[in-house]
Symmetry: C2
Subunit: 492 residues, 2 copies
Amino acid sequence: MGKSLTRREEDYSKWYNELVVKADLAENSAVRGCMTIKPYGYAIWEKIQAELDSKFKDTGHENAYFPLFVPKSLFEAEEKNAEGFAKECAVVTHYRLQSDPDRPGKLRVDPEAKLDEELVVRPTSEAVIWNTFKGWIQSYRDLPLKINQWANVVRWEMRTRLFLRTTEFLWQEGHTAHATKTEAVEEAELINTLYANFVEKFMAIPVIQGIKSESEKFAGAEETYCIEALMQDGKALQAGTSHFLGENFAKAFNVKFTSDQGKQEYVWATSWGVSTRLMGALVMTHSDDNGLVLPPNLAPIQVVIVPIFKNEEQLELVSEKANLIANDLKSKGVRVKFDNRTTHKPGWKFAEYELKGIPLRIAIGPKDLEKGTVELARRDTLSKTFENQEGLTVVIENLLKDIQHDLFIKAEAFRDDHITKVDTFEEFKDVLNSKGGFLFAHWDGTSETEEKIKGLTKATIRCIPLEQTKETGKCVFSGKESKQRVLFAKAY
Amino acid sequence: MGKSLTRREEDYSKWYNELVVKADLAENSAVRGCMTIKPYGYAIWEKIQAELDSKFKDTGHENAYFPLFVPKSLFEAEEKNAEGFAKECAVVTHYRLQSDPDRPGKLRVDPEAKLDEELVVRPTSEAVIWNTFKGWIQSYRDLPLKINQWANVVRWEMRTRLFLRTTEFLWQEGHTAHATKTEAVEEAELINTLYANFVEKFMAIPVIQGIKSESEKFAGAEETYCIEALMQDGKALQAGTSHFLGENFAKAFNVKFTSDQGKQEYVWATSWGVSTRLMGALVMTHSDDNGLVLPPNLAPIQVVIVPIFKNEEQLELVSEKANLIANDLKSKGVRVKFDNRTTHKPGWKFAEYELKGIPLRIAIGPKDLEKGTVELARRDTLSKTFENQEGLTVVIENLLKDIQHDLFIKAEAFRDDHITKVDTFEEFKDVLNSKGGFLFAHWDGTSETEEKIKGLTKATIRCIPLEQTKETGKCVFSGKESKQRVLFAKAY
Ligand SMILES: [Zn+2]
Ligand SMILES: [Zn+2]
């Protein structure tokens, strides 16, 4: 196969980069920082999309689509938001190419076709959406307005990595409008919990729900809720955010409604999103030195059947049984592939499907036909058993559930094992450098301290966890009063 | 409601523009030529997407995602394609904004952040995809490669109309690579037929399959297959295209494969797409002076139940029955909404759902409870009947099928009635100006004649129909030899 992988303990970062490419998830493109999502990676993303989309709809949200471009004057209307994204904006300045007089057959930008007002390629859509909401909201009867959009966005990142940080990425962005502050805060919380449940139950990735510190929150938000996951190298990854935007965008775009009391009031807002970054979290949470490990919920192929044979006649006999098994599995909704290619040897196929993270592999050969068995291999544990062909579908259905569950438990144990309470800055640095993970430490609540800790250790406040027994103490760095512990970590 | 609509015969174009906005399908945005697709319109687009996507997958295609941006040097590689799109390209030239020293709190493009090479916002993705395919294709074993992408594209149009012609639009673009010319041509034909079946059976819009003349074909294609529909005003609308690209892109990007004979050969290509333009075709094929008419397959809500009541007590009794009806319909997979709002009168609701094109409306009041009936109204025919509550679900299931079928038959009769054989240029002009529709005429096969006819009448060759009894004759314009009749029309 020529696909041998760097081991994680050798170089985790290299392992990740290689795995994403070798497992056919994504690759770099000719466009600086932009990735191509390959069919196998995209099939996983489609599963993420479908599940999230149905959850959004179940909670009363509707999809819509807003323009890719934001005129600069709209973009700058909410100043903090604009300031936060200004440094990474791709800008369209011209609308035509023409023949290049100096290079026959080649093109150049037509200098005559300069836009009067430049267009920003959306890094996020609050501006263009709130400018639109202005026309949609007049009365309290128009509220709440709960909209989601599946879209591509562009943020000009200087250092990019497949899925984790790319110039263009795919995401969903929810944008809601409410009559009251309470309702908007509840929406932001509801979505953060929806994200947490989705990531934990569907992707088998444990997360901690929390809120961001002032310096880490979204540009233009009053409060940013988040879910934070922990990767196998001890670095944290922000897997989703949900923002309570207050009246900031309503004021920037003058969006008011007539209340049921007949008064003109500003509208309260939220926005929230998850992106193709989740694909990076998926890879880095479960996979191993042999390749991807996929939770059954997300696996485009859940079971692969590999025939063992020495000649055409054997393949025919084995295929007959394999097709029966495959059809029975399909009838129960299991996603199964029978790989009967004669161009590749079983050993090659085993390695290939291991690399691709197929949760279960069935091998079946002439001896199995005699005995009425198959060999069943689990990708997550790499364990093999012999199973009777009779009743195999039920065994597999149960195993798929087990694997989904076990992957979560394993990741959760690792995560729980990597949350360390630290009470001195020495301890903070020691644990960060030796073990990594989350450091659960007191903090004085100032951006100044946060900045200093970041400067000294590269660790940032990932979140102030929502669920914790409140405990006062002394800041791990400044020694000043602290109202509660927060989670620090180095992060992706 | 304040939503009265211009009548079609008064001003068809105005009727269309008003209807798209008033029925909440889409609206213009702050970005020149870009539309916002509103939730109701987007819900219809999602139905189109889901059905097409499953048809693509059933025929062995996989989804992937390629970058939004195309570096100019890649864009210009296939010269004809580049030339065809150069005049309508949005171009990114800078990657950063900064504070504007002259306007406090405002932003300007950072002159220091100019790109070395400009990026074209994709008007279509052949270039970026074939540059990628180069890395994916080495051997005949890698072929065929059958990829689809759901994406936004940008073409800088000077005159735009919602759905029909917008600067940004949503579409799917298929891109396939094959070992032989025959296989590529078969793929292009297969997809054109897939499009025809989808548009006819799912959208109830009759189409004619054909090929484009030299001057109307896709820039960079050897042959463009298309499906052409006819709108109620007698103008044609191209609803989808499928291109046989020959070896043009393989040569431009040097994509070769080792054949099973061990020879290096260029790869054969196709590309094909349908877009949000289909939404315009949908509106203009079926709708009437009262608003939208939606085929049941595409209707986000297929049945709406409106309660008739004078007081709270009546509403409660009616609601009880309405909920039973709704639940029974839901259990059969019918998309039903019970509108029990007390803020709007039944008459308002009737008009609203008529405007929105809901195929069936049930009205139920106290008298119906006594009699065990409901009033059932069909949107397409505007006819009403009384139906027994008993067995209602079956009646409705059958009616939904009837409506789907009848809409097609009606549109097909109109279309068939608007295909006129003409044999002189006088006749050509007379029919075009009086009746419109397709003119089935002999043509000498030259771009020169085509151009002249277009200049004189605005009619273009919509397609050379695939299915026709070959008949030689004299060109309707030049009198020269003609090998077959072709379809002319004014077109969207
Ligand atoms: Zn635990
Ligand atoms: Zn017919």
